[in-house]
Symmetry: C2
Subunit: 701 residues, 2 copies
């Protein structure tokens, strides 16, 4: 991708000398920052502002690394083909008029795709704002050249977005307000070829980038995305548009792209330690924070010292910190005695640390310095939340002095600012310069702090998509064959045989085909038993009257047998199962997601699964570590930890069920869906009481 | 309260001529704005800046309406007594050194309380920043006089806060940034006498106030607060500090006040249509929005038109709108055709309305004006969400022109701003001036819009605390007596008798005292039956082995009888109940909250009640309308609407149970707790299967 990010020479196709045209804006931006050769292409000019202009790409006498294209869509395919014939390895197409405009544009876009496939030229766009590299001053974009005047703040955050307008808006907003510098911003547009994974891979290796933010409406290659995110320590923040139904509808019409099920996307990315954002400015705040401080990979809640001048703000801070799973630090003796040195005698020192009464005696500066130094040196403090009221320029000065303490102690500090305009704005910009992330809202400050102190149940770079963790299990040939060549819904009995073959505990059961067998099996299994009728393709057994619970005698078993046989019209199978009474019900399964391929799911619930809506996903296959992390991500942990006096759920066994499910989905490409619901937990052990495997008509990813 | 809010004359006790002292700041603030007479009191001066100073309050030759007191705590009680002797009706005590500093301060505070009670003088404070009235320029506070220079923006939002520092910080921040004007800000401090209800009552009647924000750590009189909030149409926003456990601990140590169970507080206030805030700046944004637009009291989702120049921002807006229970408006034919007039041909018009391609052809101004007019005139649009990118001063001008359209059509508009600094800041301030609320974050814009379009299940001014809706029921004398004079835990059988007396359906059951009675009753009730042993004071029957489910024969009943009798050591009662199989389990009850008195609770759950944590509260008594609103506030409505094919829960019957519970709690002041769990719902009808009433040792509020 170097020819996109650091080309030696650029052909600008569609350059113009008309000052108010986009083709001139791109030209100006190139001339202002790009240090390589620029070859404007336009048959209408001999030169533009003194730079030789060529009628065609093929007329350029020197090698070209990158073509930037801004001409009407109808002419783009021919020109790109010409580029490829001239040996240009990459084309960045910024003009619109493609798939986003309807059928005609789609034809041009399809043609571009074909050219890519045939010639090997890489295409970035179309319908995008290109690349914006503030560190290396490479603006390959039609963003207004005015940006050079007041907004080109280099920094360590890189962004990947589909939409161009959005990127431009946010760059300007954040950079001109002095809140955040930018390394690279990449606007990808319709993604006919270069997609978010290509660019993400590049940025992960980019030494100028410390944190990466992605705004995505569609995900082109979910599994590659997961792999990239999981194999890097660089913080990645994702804002996924199109979560609600209407939102998803808007996504369809906007980019003609598929917005995946948001629960799957969020959960699968969380498994890889991706930070999820919900709003644009919040994403920027998360990015700048994570670019400043590396993740503190905690297994336990982070311990926070809160410095405030208002008891009320301390109370609300404590609410937020606890609400996000972290805690107020217990201060060390040494810290307490430093603080007692400036506190009035009547006031006990406690965290949140209310500095106001101390400030009234010793002045703001002394007290804040003392307190910051004390808590930063406290080994029991993981992070410092500082409230700073900005009165005047002096406040900014006091604030900026903490930079040294942070540097020396390595403790991350997060600062909530409020006060007089315009001093607050200056203070925020100054703090940013000094490497102290500052925020205008308390919740945002705590939220960004929590993103830095994420609690991890599973190491990075561990195992994602690693098949070596899969159990070495073989199914008997007929079942193996069925999974390789079958289609449609497999009935409960067959599904459970397959699951047993993968070492998943299922309820004891027997297939019976006469009344006598029914009587005998029910005696063997022990009363009360459950009797079910299995009809080909039928998944709603309860609703069809095919499930009889609590059958308590041989004669009842015979009656139920007769009645089931009748209900089913003398076809299908009848199965008798042991009754299992459990403490808790779980659910587990597999879906084949259009963006992420096979994904393992675990959840809480049984009959209340939809109500609790408490599930976790990860891309299959998963190993035991992955699976344990999924279980740990479920919200209602109380149900797993020995609910109402029951024995806790055996997490290893539950995890191994997920491992097996993931393996099945990985080996057998026809499996579209696996559903174990409920898994009833007795004495801690989960057992599958009902199960369905659904096969597709074709094998798929 | 007029002598606090608009006194004709003020004595300032603790006035000083020392420029850097608090006593001078108050003096200066009075002189700058207050138009009545000012009498500085300090034996050390003859005059201060030319204003005659008096050695004592009693030396003032004219009547005084209000004393503002800033002297050391130890001397305050004597001075306040003197004030009262001089006939001054109110004292605002701004000095600290009272309960917040420990035992000695508590003594002074107790003395103040006593003076109040004995003399009838009203006391505001101590330990507060007093009153700040920007509209009438009455600053009865030691806030830095610099505020007159750059920050005194009058507006329609009034605030009530405990903490002084916080109030000052936020006033400055919001006013100097031009985001919000203020009517009155009231800092109440330790609330020895004047409390949030006194001030709220005044502000509800205040013609200068359109919306009221309260930051509260403790609530002095919950029932009065509820009544005030419920009887006004003025929007009220509450931020309650001390929600988490640690937060609550901080609240204790900060104000030595009781932070109520946050679930109760939130839910009880939601019943009265109070808007709950979580963060400080968010509270200010909610307040300024609600001061600008009256509540649109919708019974259904609000229909929103989104105007954007970025498809991505449109998608995320749709996500937020749907996530808050509202929806994207279906645009009328006329609106569509107006928009088609500026849209490029290839682009279908849909909501969110992406204006960018149209702007590229016709310019920003024309397109935005056209679109704003079209959607504001659309009868199917309840509110407009406008995204505005601020490029330059022109953008601000375009924005401010919408004011007229809003005024004419009465459609509320909410504007999300981003762009170049400092233009965005100017644009936000200008929009505020023109009456267009603008926000810097998209989520906040939607959140404030949702606060305006709150969905109501119950009219305001309806019935809160109105006993006339209570059922006219009388208990038999022994039960009535028990509730009036008894104490401790009432057993299940007695509790259910009382509940039946209030027309609550309970499970059929029989008390038995011999094996033969057990056999006979179990036959009458019909197998299988449930048998329970009731021991005096025992509430954990299951854990003590006192519950036997599924007793299926006379002989089993006899066995269980014997075994229970043995377990209980031949004391207590044995009860036999019909087995009820239900579709859904509910919970209902009553708590006597220290802040709100008796509160009725309804919830979902049975055994999973704690996991679902889905409850609603309202202050008792409640009538059927109240109760239906509580039920409608439960989150998992799917469980009530015919879950998994069951019959929907009969809401009227469920509501009437809540009405009865509330009546019981209102009539019988000894009832501390009522617990109906589970209420099992069969064929839609909820029946109490287990119940407990707990009495206190003393009757209470």
């Amino acid at each position: 991708m170097d020819y996109f990010f650091k080309p030696g020479s650029i052909a600008l196709i569609g350059a113009t000398a008309k000052r108010n045209k986009v083709g001139y804006a791109i030209f100006m931006n190139l001339r202002k920052g790009f240090t390589g050769k620029i070859f404007p292409v336009n048959p209408g000019y001999k030169d533009i502002d003194g730079v030789t202009c060529y009628p065609n790409v093929s007329d350029i006498p020197e090698p070209v690394d990158l073509a930037i294209v801004f001409i009407p869509a109808a002419r783009v395919p021919a020109v790109v083909r010409e580029c490829s014939e001239c040996g240009i390895p990459g084309a960045m197409i910024e003009s619109g008029g493609f798939a986003e405009t309807g059928r005609e544009g789609q034809v041009y876009q399809d043609e571009l795709k074909r050219i890519c496939d045939q010639t090997g030229i890489r295409i970035w766009g179309p319908n995008c704002m290109g690349l914006f590299d503030a560190v290396n001053r490479r603006i390959f974009s039609f963003v207004l050249p005015a940006i050079w005047k007041d907004g080109l703040t280099p920094g360590k955050v890189s962004l990947i977005v589909q939409s161009g307008m959005l990127a431009a808006g946010f760059l300007l907003h954040n950079m001109t307000h002095g809140i955040m510098g930018i390394s690279k911003a990449c606007s990808l547009g319709n993604k006919v070829d270069v997609n978010e994974c290509d660019v993400l891979e590049y940025l992960i290796e980019d030494p100028d980038t410390e944190a990466i933010g992605l705004y995505l409406e569609s995900i082109v290659d979910g599994r590659r995305l997961v792999k990239l995110c999981d194999n890097t320590d660089k913080p990645i923040v994702v804002l996924k548009g199109g979560k609600s139904e209407k939102g998803a509808a808007a996504a369809m019409s906007h980019t003609a792209s598929l917005a995946g099920d948001s629960a799957v996307v969020s959960s699968v990315l969380a498994h890889c330690d991706v930070v999820e954002a919900n709003d644009f400015q919040q994403m920027m705040d998360l990015c700048r924070t994570l670019a400043r401080y590396p993740h503190i990979r905690k297994q336990a809640p982070g311990r926070v010292a809160v410095l405030t001048y208002s008891g009320a703000a301390g109370i609300v801070s404590a609410d937020f910190i606890e609400g996000m799973g972290h805690e107020l630090a217990d201060l060390a003796e040494e810290t307490l005695s430093s603080l007692k040195g400036v506190f009035p005698e009547w006031m006990p020192v406690s965290n949140p640390i209310d500095l106001w009464p101390a400030m009234e005696r010793h002045g703001e500066e002394t007290v804040i310095q003392t307190a910051v130094k004390a808590v930063c040196s406290d080994p029991g403090v993981d992070a410092v939340l500082l409230h700073q009221f900005v009165r005047d320029a002096k406040s900014t000065e006091i604030l900026s002095r903490h930079a040294e303490t942070i540097e020396k102690t390595g403790k991350p500090m997060f600062c909530w600012l409020m006060g007089r305009a315009p001093n607050t704005l200056n203070a925020q910009a100054m703090a940013a310069k000094k490497g102290i992330p500052a925020y205008k809202e308390l919740y945002r400050a705590v939220e960004c702090m929590a993103a830095v102190m994420r609690i991890r149940q599973r190491p990075k770079n561990d195992t994602v998509l690693n098949l070596s963790g899969m159990p070495d299990t073989k199914l008997p040939e007929p079942l193996d064959n069925l999974l390789r060549t079958g289609t449609g819904v497999l009935d409960e009995h067959v599904s459970k045989k397959i699951l047993s073959g993968f070492e998943i505990a299922v309820v004891d059961e027997a297939l019976v085909s006469t009344v006598d067998e029914a009587k005998a099996s029910s005696v063997t299994l022990g009363f009360p038993v459950v009797m079910k009728g299995l009809l080909n393709g039928e998944v709603h057994k309860t609703e069809k009257g095919l499930v009889h619970l609590d059958v308590r005698s041989k004669s009842s078993a015979a009656d139920v047998y007769g009645s089931l046989w009748q209900t089913m019209g003398a076809q299908g199978k009848i199965v008798i199962q042991k009754t299992i009474k459990g403490d808790v019900e779980l659910i587990a399964g597999l879906v084949r997601d259009p963006q992420f391929g096979p994904c393992v799911m675990c959840g809480l619930g049984g009959t209340l699964a939809e109500v609790l809506a408490d599930t976790a996903f990860a891309v299959a296959p998963v190993n035991r570590t992955d699976a344990l992390e999924m279980i740990a991500r479920l919200k209602h942990q109380a149900l797993l930890n020995g609910f109402r006096g029951a024995r806790p759920v055996d997490r290893i066994r539950f995890a191994d069920i997920l491992v097996s499910i993931g393996t099945l989905g990985t080996i057998y490409h026809r499996i579209r869906e696996i559903d174990l619901n409920p898994l009833i937990v007795t004495e801690g052990i989960p057992v599958a009481v009902d199960a369905t495997i659904i096969l597709g008509d074709e094998p798929s990813l």
